[in-house]
């Protein structure tokens, strides 16, 4: 696992300092070695975390006649099989690395080569003879890839900070992205928190050639159940799911360095640990995070899983003070505003893994999204069930069973419960039915935006933009699948795999691998009927059947507890000065994003101990993370010229909205 960056030059003037500066900004992703390939037209750089073919896998790597150069971050797990096929077709290899496999496949099949890859990747190939740059990103968005263009260059990198090493790249917050995060919790695909900096969406490739950019989708997440599976034998399907997961795990153990697993104490990571342990042979090393606050701690399940499977387990304990202490560094890595502190404990966890001498970790990430694990799916099912008999007194009470771990939900008076989750006819017809309560709650965070910020964000654009990018068949899918798509298509790449995934792991040079996100598993899950994912209200039904005998019964049957961490109050108990420094009225006014008086009132609410609930917490974390981001990376909006601000909206939508298809590189 590594960091990559590079550029295509339009004017032919070489800047020998640029590549080292760009790659220097992301050395944490690959501290083992650094490499460059540079010509007047293009430059590629690579910073390496050596995992496969430690001796022969240096990058950027070229083909035999030096007409193709690649810089690659990630892993191609089926490289062994692909290599054998290529050798049979006459290709000759110089290394044992998966990197060289991509080069040979590209020689044969051009940009279509990505369709054969099973893995997690972000790579760039510079095709010298065609003067063409190919960028590609894996199907689910495990590995990040950002790009931007200045007057005379197209630039790309694994992290935004590498792009910012180029002085011409603007350092401005994209207010429309902030508006989306304060609605959906994530930027929609292609957007980033930075104006004029884009992210290549999962399942897409991008080609730069002859002064034009072409973006093409090569894979699409779909939920389209096969009718024959409706009547299929459940045991047989559970067996098929298990077999797929076993193979997905098997190829994810391909590594020349030792592999461990994360063990959260839930079904998904415990099953992956059990499968890994059986395949890996030696006593497996497992890692977890615990909390000193028992409301969040799952140590007893982690220890039970470790003892049952027979792993050597190591845990790091996370306190509220830890969260506050590391939060600014966490945001320097997420490079986007977040509404929860949940990435922070994972930052500590990857440090534990790194300090234990491990570089590769398998986790249970992805199961909740594709096999019906999240509470939001259950909530939507109950709301729909209730809507069929709107006067029922009992049906809304099912909602209390949803969140046994949330005290406020348990205390909710029945009449209010009914009002808050009440379903209208309009809601029922909405493609976003499942997510409306969440998004409506989140949207209240916009109360804290300054009037200038609000004026710069046109109303309803977030929802309209999302609607415009839904897949063609979406409206015909079952409501359950629509909800799964909203999680797997947006929250997964936009937050789970980035802010909680790649960014926290790579902050300490650790690579995460996710068997549930093997595209064969995802495609299989997409064909399953909803009733096998959630039977009545039993989440991940088929996966639980598949896991029988592999994991402790208590863990297999336990109520799903979402991963949570202490939120806002973490910043008010200890000696840290994060809130004082980042949310001072002077800084808030200077940055111009938020209404300083309202934010101060929110801070005072926390200080007096009266803040509680999702809204207050999301507001504090969202504002704090935005202000930290401003401090690290951005120019205050108040220092921008008034003319620039006035044209904000028009320019921003033209530049950051996702273009699929072809458009000019240097058109702006």
């Amino acid at each position: 696992m590594c960091g990559i960056c590079g550029f295509v030059n339009l004017n032919g003037i070489d800047d020998p300092e640029l590549l080292p500066q760009m790659i220097g900004a992301i050395r944490h992703r690959g501290p083992d070695e650094t490499g460059f390939h540079r010509s007047p037209e293009a430059g590629l750089a690579h910073t390496r975390l050596s995992i496969i073919d430690v001796a022969g896998g240096q990058q950027p790597m070229c083909n035999w006649d030096r007409s193709l150069w690649i810089t690659f971050n990630g892993e191609i797990f089926n490289y062994v099989e692909l290599r054998e096929e290529l050798i049979r077709r006459g290709h000759r290899f110089r290394t044992r690395s998966d990197t060289e496999v991509i080069l040979h496949l590209y020689e044969e099949q051009g940009e279509q080569c990505v369709r054969h890859l099973n893995g997690q990747w972000a790579f760039a190939i510079w095709d010298v003879t065609r003067r063409k740059l190919l960028l590609s990103r894996d199907r689910l968005g495990v590995r990040p890839l950002f790009y931007t263009q200045t007057g005379d260059r197209f630039l790309f990198a694994s992290e935004i900070k590498a792009l910012l090493a180029c002085p011409e790249v603007p350092r401005e917050l994209d207010l429309e992205t902030l508006d989306q995060i304060f609605t959906f919790w994530v930027p929609l695909p292609a957007r980033t928190a930075f104006r004029d900096i884009q992210q290549l969406p999962p399942g897409h490739s991008l080609i730069v050639q002859d002064g034009r950019i072409r973006i093409a989708e090569y894979w699409r997440l779909e939920f389209d159940p096969e009718t024959e599976l409706e009547s299929a034998n459940e045991d047989a399907l559970a067996e098929e799911l298990l077999a797929l997961l076993q193979d997905a795990t098997r190829i994810r153990l391909r590594s020349d360095v030792p592999v461990g697993t994360y063990l959260s104490g839930g079904l998904d990571s415990t099953l992956i640990t059990a499968l890994t342990s059986k395949l890996a042979g030696d006593r497996l090393r497992t890692f977890s995070v615990g909390f000193d606050d028992p409301a969040f701690d799952e140590s007893c399940y982690q220890n039970e899983a470790s003892a049952f499977i027979g792993t050597q387990h190591t845990q790091v304990c996370c306190t509220e003070d830890d969260i506050a202490r590391i939060f600014p560094e966490v945001i320097r890595h997420t490079e986007q505003p977040i509404l929860r502190t949940a990435p922070a404990p994972l930052f500590l966890l990857s440090k534990l893994v790194h300090d234990s001498g491990f570089k590769v970790i398998l986790t249970g990430e992805g199961a909740d999204e594709i096999i019906g694990g999240y509470d939001i799916f259950k909530e939507a099912k109950i709301r729909r069930f209730w809507a069929r008999n709107a006067n029922s007194r009992m049906r809304p009470l099912l909602l209390k069973r949803l969140y046994p771990y949330l005290d406020d939900m348990q205390r909710q008076p029945p009449e209010y419960l009914k009002r808050f989750f009440h379903v209208t006819e309009t809601d029922l017809g909405s493609p976003f039915f499942s997510h409306l309560p969440r998004w409506e709650t989140t949207e209240r965070l916009k109360l804290f935006l300054s009037s200038e910020s609000r004026a710069a964000i046109p109303p309803n654009t977030a929802m309209e933009e999302l609607e415009s990018m839904l897949p063609a068949g979406f409206r015909g899918w079952a409501p359950f699948h629509q909800a799964e798509y909203l999680e797997a298509g947006y929250l997964l790449p936009g937050y789970i795999l980035s802010s909680q995934g790649d960014r926290m792991a790579m902050a300490h040079s650790v690579e995460g691998r996710y068997p549930f996100l093997d595209h064969r598993v995802v495609e299989f899950a997409g064909k399953l009927p909803p009733r096998l994912k959630m039977k009545v209200l039993d989440q991940k039904y088929l996966l639980k059947r598949a896991a029988a005998g592999w994991i402790p019964e208590r863990i297999r049957q336990r109520y799903k507890q979402p991963y949570r961490a202490p939120d806002g109050r973490s910043f008010f108990g200890g000696r840290n000065r994060v809130v004082e420094d980042m949310l001072s009225p002077e800084k808030l006014k200077r940055d111009g994003i938020f209404d300083a008086a309202r934010v101060t009132a929110l801070v005072n609410k926390f200080k007096s101990g009266h803040a509680r609930g999702t809204r207050d917490n999301m507001a504090l974390i969202g504002i704090l993370s935005t202000e930290i981001l401003m401090e690290h990376f951005m120019k205050p909006r108040t220092t921008m010229g008034s003319q620039r601000r006035a044209t904000d909206h028009a320019a921003s939508s033209a530049n950051t909205q996702f273009h699929r298809g072809e458009f000019s590189v240097w058109s702006s």
Binding site: R411, P413, F420, E440, L447, V599, R612
Partner: protein, 99 residues
């Protein structure tokens, strides 16, 4: 009137973070997005602590609590009517302790 002002201040401070003038006395807290499910519990805690009453689940309805006007009317019924309905002190302390 004094109660209405107290309630307005509480709502402004806790849910609107300032700007007490933004809220009309007859505006629904739910429809205008002022309170969420946690906010309702905060509101109930506030009323119980401030006015020394316990609000049972049967009373904790939008009909009684969903605007400044409705709360004022509810409080008038509870406080200005029969004093016999006032709860024991112990119960008040428990309600406050849950916040």
């Amino acid at each position: 009137m004094q109660r209405a002002a107290q309630i307005r201040n509480f709502i402004a401070e806790n849910f609107l973070f300032g700007a007490a003038d933004q809220i009309r006395d007859d505006a629904s807290f739910i429809d205008s997005g002022i309170v969420d499910s946690t906010g309702v519990l905060q509101l109930i805690d506030f009323l119980e602590e401030t006015y020394g009453i316990a609000i049972a689940n049967e009373d904790a309805t939008p009909d009684n609590l969903d605007s400044i006007d409705k709360i004022s009317a509810y409080l008038a019924r509870r406080l200005d009517g029969s004093r016999k309905a006032a709860p024991p002190v112990l119960e008040v302390a428990e309600a406050g302790g849950q916040s």
